[in-house]
Symmetry: C2
Subunit: 330 residues, 2 copies
């Protein structure tokens, strides 16, 4: 067997990771190549290790990668990968679980910021229009979590991590996932009916689903009305899990419903803070700069896990997190 070639399209790999991969393959860092060198290498590349899909891997170039057999994403989700241009025999692996704790922490930050009205109150104080709460009645806009129900849509690594904290807060947890199950006292619902059940009974809902054909727009006009009118919805998955117009109209019509997000809708092919509707004008909207995943990359675990999974493939073992292609293309 000839030594295989791994093309790495990001500068995120540390020396140790490159060294580990180099024991099993030729490791090429794409950003260090001249244009003509890249052209020569494409036909002999067996594996791709990508962060976000690189712009330079165009349709024409992908077509020349006749030996490509394995793609590992360092990002947790794989919605950035152009499945339509990639042969069905290529194994594509997500990096599910690599960001779980950090993304779950951010989900809790958003959920609590909404529940406790932290952004809104801080702004009131900053702008000199704050009034100290002196008795219980004035705190009725605050959501107390203990004893309440949390719904988690997508019960992978992030969902499990979110649930662990919810239990510590004394919340009841119901999850929605492809596979119906019961784990650690948490009931997992599935199917359209399961979705309705979880949404209907939850005081707060965390979206931790991958974005694919089945989940795009899962929160829409119809599903929003199934939620409690004073519920909190947190998105730490992908912007397009939520229909933008439906959400905006729901937030306007229901001032006690709150939405907090770290992820944004795509505009001209990339995630963008420019929204079609003026969300930041609403007091029941909170947004952050898609920092949840990157805060995990700082800790290097996503890179280490992506490298380990690539090593599994190179050594002939079954890699983890193989993506079901039909979730993304017909």
């Amino acid at each position: 067997m000839t030594r295989r070639t791994v093309l790495v399209t990001t500068d995120l790999l540390d020396k140790q990771s490159i060294k580990r991969l180099s024991r099993h393959a030729n490791v090429i860092i794409a950003t260090r190549l001249a244009e003509n060198e890249l052209q020569v290498l494409l036909p002999s590349t067996d594996c791709l290790l990508v962060f976000a899909w690189p712009a330079f891997l165009t349709e024409e170039r992908l077509a020349r990668m006749k030996r490509l057999r394995f793609i590992q994403s360092i990002l947790a989700g794989v919605n950035h990968i152009p499945f339509g241009l990639i042969d069905g025999n290529v194994i594509v692996c997500s990096n599910a679980g690599a960001y779980s704790d950090e993304v779950a922490e951010h989900a809790w930050g958003l959920l609590l910021a909404a529940a406790k009205s932290i952004v809104e109150q801080h702004l009131q104080i900053k702008e000199g229009r704050g009034v100290l709460v002196r008795h219980g009645d004035a705190a009725r806009g605050i959501t107390v979590l203990t004893g309440k129900a949390l719904g988690i849509l997508g019960y992978g690594g992030i969902g499990v991590s979110v649930a662990r904290v919810a239990r510590a807060f004394g919340m009841n947890v119901n999850a929605f996932s492809r596979k119906q199950s019961r784990s650690g006292g948490i009931r997992v619902f599935s199917g359209g009916k399961g979705l309705t059940q979880v949404l209907g009974k939850s005081d707060a809902v965390v979206l931790a689903l991958p974005l694919n054909r089945l989940t795009r727009g899962i929160i829409n006009k119809e599903t929003l009305v199934e939620m409690k009118s004073n519920a909190i919805l947190v998105n730490i998955g992908r912007g397009e899990l939520v229909e933008e117009r439906a959400l905006f109209e729901h937030l306007k019509a229901n001032p006690t419903f709150r939405f907090a997000t770290d992820v944004w809708w795509y505009r001209n092919g990339k995630e963008s803070l420019e929204t079609t509707f003026p969300f930041t004008a609403l007091p029941n909207f909170i947004g952050t700069l898609h920092v949840s995943g990157p805060s995990a990359v700082v800790g290097r675990r996503p890179v280490v896990l992506a490298v380990e999974n690539t090593l599994r493939f190179l050594r002939g073992l079954q890699p983890k997190n193989i993506v079901k292609r039909s979730d993304y293309v017909n």
Copy 2:
């Protein structure tokens, strides 16, 4: 034994609570009395059930309450009670523990808002100066909690509740309390040396102490420099636990140090959003409107627990949460 009289100085009591107390005593709701009726009742009052100390219970009137033997606070803390005007034989009870879960939730909201830079990022987006994070480096200002150390100053009901959630986030917890102990895997330090140890090793610190002679200004110029320069300090106790000027100067000098508070310093005898220093001009400051305790009052538990403790006294049992008078006056 003559039937005793309980004077209730708040309208917070529900019918059920009044009914329960009435089985053991005459229950008088002060706000329903005319001025002359109050004057007549003072000498025959055995028990006081107060929320915040009422302005109408002046020094002169207190002096006339010759039969007073028991004061129950519905507020968790008792720093509002004028110990100097009250006979040393009067039993004063705090309502420690009655607000634990709700206040701990708020502490986590503030801690995560600071750790994840939620208020600052939201403002950047709202003001059109936000930039989406596209790789790990840009997220270096974000504090990841898992694996980090949390210090809790004051290990009563709130502290225990804060610790439970910290463990779910994968944090190591060290507490500072009057009594040195070890409970549930959490090490409790005490004394000045213990305080230094907890402050020095913590990535985040939650102030959950009562405000008294021993704790006033416990966070000051000297103790602030013992903390990590990029630590997060959360105050859900009382404003005066922290020296205002020392904190402001520390925040200005250390932009990576963050402070988030629900409680404020007193000004002209009452808690006030008007601070001596312009805290809200600093990006490393977050404030809310002292909603943590009131959000618990909405749930009625503080009232129920205060009534139950008063019933304990009325029935000749040992009440809970008896305050050590010497913590508050010489």
